[in-house]
Amino acid sequence: MADEPTTDPADDAQPTPNPKHEWMLGQLRDALDADLLESAVAFDDLVVRVAPGSWRHAAEVARDRLECDYLCFISAIDWQPAPREGDDAGGDTSAPVQPTEMTFGAAGSAGRFQVFAHVQSTGGHHGLTLKTDVGDEPSAVASWVPVYPGADWHERECWEMFGVVFDDHPALRHLYLPNEFEGHPLRKDFPLLARVVKPWPGLVDVEAMPGGDAPEPAAVPAGDEDAS
């Protein structure tokens, strides 16, 4: 029983409506009203964008009305394209070419930063992705810790990597990085330090594989006795 070809994943234009998605959207619209800004379906996953002011309320709706007891993750997206100095001129073929314009994904975005989370239901086997906009600074948003205790670490990581502040979080401190670390690494304007410290050397001359050119015997160090 291979994957059914009837629902072609690329055909986002006319997907077969999923009754679970309809039910979830209905409940969310009912509870959030105008705060439900946009929704979309991306490859069997319902993506919903809510207003930042009702971020925690959306979590409560998801937990109570949509039966989503399982917190999968909370993270953020920085939609700004990474700066592209030098990747064309330097002939750096190691890294993919970065996009030039800021475009947004499923369910749109109002600015550069978005916080997104995925919650699921262990009993009903459905889930959804929630997104909210936090603008360009990014601005603060309510914490999910009172709703899902596991949000503690996810929000710490989000703050550490993107700089999004979560109000009412018990202790917003560094998770992965040392306490003195400055900057928020996952932002697009934070360079990949590995390439800054040591630029990609490009293709280097390598020795021919065995069977090609024979290696010079002089290359082998003399006096290689095995010491037992």
Partner: protein, 394 residues
């Protein structure tokens, strides 16, 4: 048993070092009778560089604060500067004990974004190799949790039997630990001659090993005394922390992404049982993983019986360019639920990859779980949760 002297006077505590904790829970002012102990980052029980700062009252834990990040490699940043095939090499090393299983969801994501499908034979072989990685990592767990509890011998049996499975993986892919065998659209190569017969006999060895572990470890009264009732995760607390996989099934939650999630690989064709245990303690976590090892061996045998013939690689362009889109893919990895949220802007590399790793959430429950337990029980609980540092830190 606790001393009445403040330990801070007996040992010259380096207070400047303590300030680095910057910790809301663990304060620098030591109460009389409480002792702060650092479990890690170098410690045999923490499976790698995990550090837990526990505050002890005698032998009881008052608060526990795990400090992670000693192995943080910045994968999510790195993926933004790598092409899709290059990302495969990176994500292999997230959960290094079952590395084949890490690649599967990402391959799935890339393939679905490109609207290509791996051929059925490739799916079956991927399933077999995923289940083999599951067996490999669980055999290590079965031995090593016994070692944490004090029994020195089952570790060697676990490693010995794991060698057979690793030899199989190496015969098929060329690598024991980081096979790097997946390609977008299928696999690098087909299976070698005689591999299927060898795999069948190895599964018999694995099933025998599971029986041995059941008698030797699960049947041991001292093991039971050390693990029953220890570290109970109730079934309403686990999901709210994101605990997944065998840990959640050991609390009685009947949820397995191979059966309940969107269909992936060859799992829709297989007939397998999802094992749960109502207790939610360390014993049940060991028990569930033991049963799942057996189940994985049976699944491999089923796959071997039903493996279709055909190509192992779909037609893909030479330079992989993935069209614009967003996708969330999750799979049932040995450690729990692993998922990738891939955002693509149409280039040769992803725009943003959010890696949802299982151990991160499994370990986040430790501050709640470790309150009030004895120090030896901390070790038992850590062993039974079974996390891999690479999975926590990415």
């Amino acid at each position: 048993m606790s001393t009445t002297d403040t330990p801070a006077t007996g040992f010259a505590v380096d207070r400047s070092a303590l300030h680095h904790l910057a910790d809301a829970q663990v304060n620098v002012e030591l109460d009389t009778g409480d002792m702060i102990l650092n479990l890690g980052p170098q410690h045999p029980a923490t499976h790698g560089t995990l550090r837990i700062v526990v505050r002890l009252d005698g032998e009881r834990v008052v608060t526990a604060d795990p400090i992670i990040g000693y192995m943080h490699r910045g994968y999510e940043k790195l993926t933004e500067f790598r092409t899709y095939p290059q990302v495969t090499t990176l994500i292999n090393r997230i959960d290094w004990l079952s590395s084949f299983a890490n690649e599967v969801p990402f391959m799935d994501a890339a393939e679905r974004l490109m609207s290509i499908e791996a051929p059925p034979r490739a799916k079956y072989i991927r399933t077999i190799l995923t289940e083999l990685s599951r067996i490999a990592t669980f055999l290590l767990f079965l031995g090593e949790m016994a070692a944490q509890v004090g029994a020195l011998t089952p570790v060697f049996y676990g490693f010995r039997d794991r060698e057979y499975v690793l030899n199989l993986i190496e015969a098929a892919t060329g690598g024991r630990f980081h096979p790097n065998f997946n390609r977008i659209g299928g696999l690098k190569d087909d299976l070698p001659w005689g591999w299927i017969a060898e795999c069948r006999s190895t599964m018999k060895v694995v099933l025998n090993a599971c029986d041995d572990f059941e008698d030797l470890v699960l049947g041991n009264e001292i093991f039971e005394a050390r693990t029953r009732g220890i570290g109970i995760i109730p079934d309403h607390v686990g999901p709210s922390y994101g605990v997944s996989g065998s840990n959640l099934r050991a609390s009685g939650v009947d949820w397995d992404l191979r059966r309940d999630g969107p269909p992936y690989l060859a799992y829709p064709d297989l007939d397998f049982k999802v094992w749960t245990h109502p207790d939610g303690d360390s014993y049940s976590r060991y028990w569930v993983r033991l049963q799942e090892t057996r189940e994985a061996a049976r699944m491999v045998l089923q796959c071997l019986d039903g493996i279709p013939s055909g190509p192992v690689m779909a037609k893909v362009p030479r330079i992989i360019k993935v069209p614009e889109g967003e996708i969330w893919v999750e799979t049932e990895n040995p450690l729990g639920q692993m998922g990738y949220y891939v955002i693509s802007k149409g280039g040769t590399g992803p725009f943003r990859v959010k890696i949802r790793s299982a151990s991160f959430s499994n370990v986040s429950i430790l501050p709640w779980l470790l309150r009030g337990v004895y120090v030896p029980d901390v070790i038992t609980i850590l062993a039974s949760l079974y996390f891999i540092l690479g999975d926590i830190d990415r």
